[in-house]
Amino acid sequence: MPTIEFKGKSYEVDEDGYLINLNDWNEDVAGFLAEQEEVEMTEAHWEVVNFLRDYYAEYKIAPMIKILVKAIGAKLGPEKGNTKYLYSLYPAGPAKQACKIAGLPKPTGCV
C-alpha cells in the first residue's frame, strides 16, 4: 500500500492518492493533498470540503453533485450555486478531487 509523508508522519493512501483511513484526515493533511492536486485552498474550497465531510459523516457517501451545488449556493450566494463554479474550484471534478482533499474514499460506479 502506498503512503504519503507529511510533517514526519506517514499516511496510507490508495493508488490514486485517496486516504485509506478516514480518521487520518485533518486540515493540515487536506492542505497537503490540495497542494498535490495543485489546488489552492480558499474559503470557498473549505466550504466544499466541510460540507462533503459533514454529509459523509451522516450518509457514508459523498453527496450528489446537485446537492453540493445547492448547499454551496446557499452558503456563498446563488451566483455560485452552479456546477461550473464547483469545477472552477476543483477542475478535476468536485466528486473526485474534492472528495480526495476531504479525505473521503473515491466514488466507484458509473460516475
Binding site: 490514486d16 492536486e37 457517501i61 450528489m64 446537485k66 460506479g109 458509473c110
Partner: protein
C-alpha cells in the same frame, strides 16, 4: 500524485485508418484490485504460486461451459474484417488493439494447451506457453477492450471479442490478477446493493432533495418513491442516477413521466442498481448474485411491472440475461414485457397521447443521439429488431424541434463506443479513454460543424460519465451531454391530468 499525462487526438470530423504503431498502448495498465475486494469476491489476493496450472484449468472449464468461447477459439481465419473496427486500434494505433490480434493473445495459449497441433508443433502452429509475459500482455490488452461488440458485427463468423475478453479476465481473476475499478464496483454491488456503495438513507436523502428541487422548479409535487409495496412499477436504474450529473436529470425525467401518466412506481433501496459489472469480468456467479437482488425486491415489493432506467450494459443484462439469471417473472403482469426499458415505457405513453410535450422547451438544442454499444448490439426495444434505434430517436423527436443524426457508419448497430465501457471507466487510464472516444468525437464534430449540434443525448450511465469527463479535453462543454429523459424532463408539461 503526479498528474496523468494525456494526449488529445486532433478533431478533423473524419475517421481515418491509421498505420500500425507496435506497442503504442503497451504501457496502459489498470490498477490492481485491493486485497479486500479480491478476498470478498473469492479470488486470491495476489498471483498464486501455481497460477499457470490454475489458469489453464480455468480455461478448460470455460471452454466446456461456453460454446461461444470454444467456437471462437477455433474458427478465426484472420481475414482482417475486424482490424479497422475497434475504437482503440483507430486511436492508439497499437496493432494488438485490433480485435483479431487481441483474441490471438488468448488463442495462442489455447493452441498450446488444447490442440494437438499446438502441443506437438509449438510455435510453428502459433502456440505459446502461458508465461508471466503472456499474462502481462493479457492484463494490458484485455483491459483495453470495452466489450462493445463492434468487431463482432463485422466478423463473417460473428466472433465476439467481448466473450473472449470476459473469459480472459475471469482466468486472470481466478489466479489473483484483478483490476481495481471493475472488481471494487462488483463488490459494492454485491454487498451494498449498488455500484456507488450508497446506503439506503443516502438514496432517500437524494430523492428527498429531488422532490424539493422539482417542486421548486415546476410547482408540482412529483414524488420519488422508494420501497413502496404494491406500486405498479418497480424501477431499476443505475445508482449513478442518484449521484451524478447529468444522470440525475434523467431520473427527474422518469419521475415526471410516472407522475404525469398516473402510474404508481417505486425504487428499491435493496436493489438500487441496474448496472451489473459482473458481466464485464465474465463471472457468472457474480452476475447472478447482483441480479438476484432484483428478484428479492420483486418478491418483497410485489410490483406488476419491471421498468429499467437509462443504462447500456445494464439493459443488455436485463433484457438478454435477467430471464435466464433470475427469471421467470411469474408474479409480474404478463401484459407487459419484463423488463421494459424506460424508453419503451415513455414511447408507449407518447404514442397513446398520455404525455403533453412542449418541444420549444428544448429549442436551445440541436440534438444528436449516441447509440450506446450494449443497447445497440446486444439488446432490443419494442417488438421488432432495431427498435432500440427507433424508440429513443422517436422520443427525442417528440421532445425537441431540431434533431440530427451523426454519420451513418457511426450510429445504430455501427455505433462507436464511448471508450470507457466494459469496466474501463477508471481514472488511471484516462489517456486511453480520451483516445478511445476519438472516433465518436470525430462524428460529433462533423454534425457540430454541419448542423450546429450542441446536445449529445444518450441512454447509458457509463457513457454519460465518460462523455462529461472527456468533452472538456476536446474543448466541448460537459453540459452538452445528457440523457434522453433529460430532454423529456424539460419538455414534459405537468399537471392537468388527462389520464390514460
Amino acid at each position: 500524485m503526479a498528474k496523468v499525462k494525456v494526449e488529445v487526438p486532433e478533431l478533423t470530423g473524419e475517421i481515418t485508418i491509421p498505420g500500425l504503431k507496435e506497442d503504442a498502448a503497451a504501457a496502459v495498465k489498470s490498477h490492481n484490485a485491493p486485497a479486500k475486494d479480491m478476498t470478498d469476491l473469492g479470488f486470491p489476493t495476489e498471483l498464486v504460486p501455481d497460477w499457470k496450472e490454475k489458469a489453464v484449468a480455468k480455461f478448460a472449464e470455460l471452454l466446456k461451459k461456453y460454446r461461444s468461447l470454444k467456437v471462437y477459439m477455433d474458427i478465426c481465419v484472420k481475414c482482417g474484417a475486424c482490424t479497422d473496427k475497434c475504437h482503440f486500434y483507430l486511436s492508439t494505433k497499437d496493432p494488438r488493439n485490433m480485435p483479431v490480434a487481441r483474441a490471438e493473445l488468448l488463442r495462442k495459449v489455447y493452441r498450446r494447451y488444447f490442440t494437438t497441433a499446438g502441443k506437438v508443433l509449438g510455435k510453428l502452429a502459433e502456440a505459446e506457453d502461458l508465461t508471466k509475459e503472456v499474462l502481462e500482455e493479457w492484463y494490458t490488452y484485455f483491459y483495453q477492450c470495452t466489450e462493445c461488440r463492434r468487431c463482432s458485427l463485422f466478423c463473417p463468423y460473428g466472433i465476439d471479442t467481448a466473450e473472449i475478453t470476459m473469459a480472459a479476465r475471469e482466468m486472470m481473476d481466478t489466479v489473483g490478477l484483478g483490476a481495481k475499478y471493475p472488481l471494487q464496483t462488483i463488490n459494492k454491488a454485491i454487498t451494498i446493493g449498488n455500484n456507488l456503495g450508497m446506503p439506503g438513507p443516502a438514496i432517500r436523502s437524494t430523492l428527498d432533495f429531488m422532490e424539493e428541487d422539482v417542486k421548486e422548479q415546476t410547482g408540482v409535487p412529483v414524488k420519488f418513491p422508494m420501497d413502496v409495496k404494491g406500486a405498479d412499477v418497480l424501477l431499476i436504474t443505475p445508482s449513478a442516477d442518484f449521484f451524478a450529473t447529468p444522470h440525475v436529470e434523467s431520473l427527474a425525467g422518469y419521475a415526471k413521466v410516472f407522475h404525469q401518466a398516473g402510474i404508481s412506481w417505486t425504487l428499491s433501496s435493496y436493489a438500487s442498481e441496474a448496472g451489473n459489472f459482473g458481466m464485464f469480468n465474465g463471472n457468472y456467479e457474480h452476475m447472478q448474485k447482483i441480479a438476484s437482488r432484483i428478484k428479492v425486491a420483486i418478491n418483497e415489493l410485489k410490483p406488476k411491472r419491471l421498468v429499467h432506467g437509462e443504462c447500456g450494459h445494464a439493459w443488455r443484462v436485463a433484457y438478454s440475461f435477467w430471464n435466464t439469471l433470475i427469471g421467470p417473472f411469474d408474479s409480474l403482469d404478463p401484459k407487459y414485457p419484463a423488463p421494459q426499458h424506460i424508453c419503451e415505457f415513455t414511447y408507449d405513453l407518447i404514442n397513446r397521447g398520455a404525455l403533453k410535450l412542449d418541444k420549444t422547451a428544448n429549442d436551445d438544442f440541436v440534438v444528436t443521439f449516441h447509440d450506446s454499444c450494449n443497447v445497440a448490439r446486444a439488446s432490443r426495444m419494442g417488438n421488432s429488431p432495431g427498435g432500440q434505434f427507433e424508440i429513443p430517436r422517436a422520443i427525442i423527436r417528440a421532445t425537441c424541434n431540431k434533431f440530427v443524426d451523426m454519420h451513418p457508419d457511426t450510429i445504430r448497430e455501427k455505433t462507436f463506443c464511448c471508450g470507457a465501457g466494459g469496466g474501463l471507466l477508471a481514472d488511471e487510464i484516462i489517456d486511453l479513454r480520451i483516445k478511445g472516444v476519438m472516433p465518436r468525437m470525430q462524428a460529433y464534430k462533423a454534425v457540430k460543424d454541419s448542423h450546429g449540434a450542441n446536445f449529445f443525448a444518450l441512454i447509458c450511465a457509463i457513457c454519460k460519465a465518460q462523455f462529461t469527463k472527456v468533452f472538456p479535453y476536446y474543448g466541448y462543454e460537459m453540459e452538452e451531454v445528457g440523457g434522453v429523459h433529460q430532454l423529456v424532463s424539460r419538455a414534459i408539461v405537468l399537471g392537468g391530468k388527462e389520464g390514460i
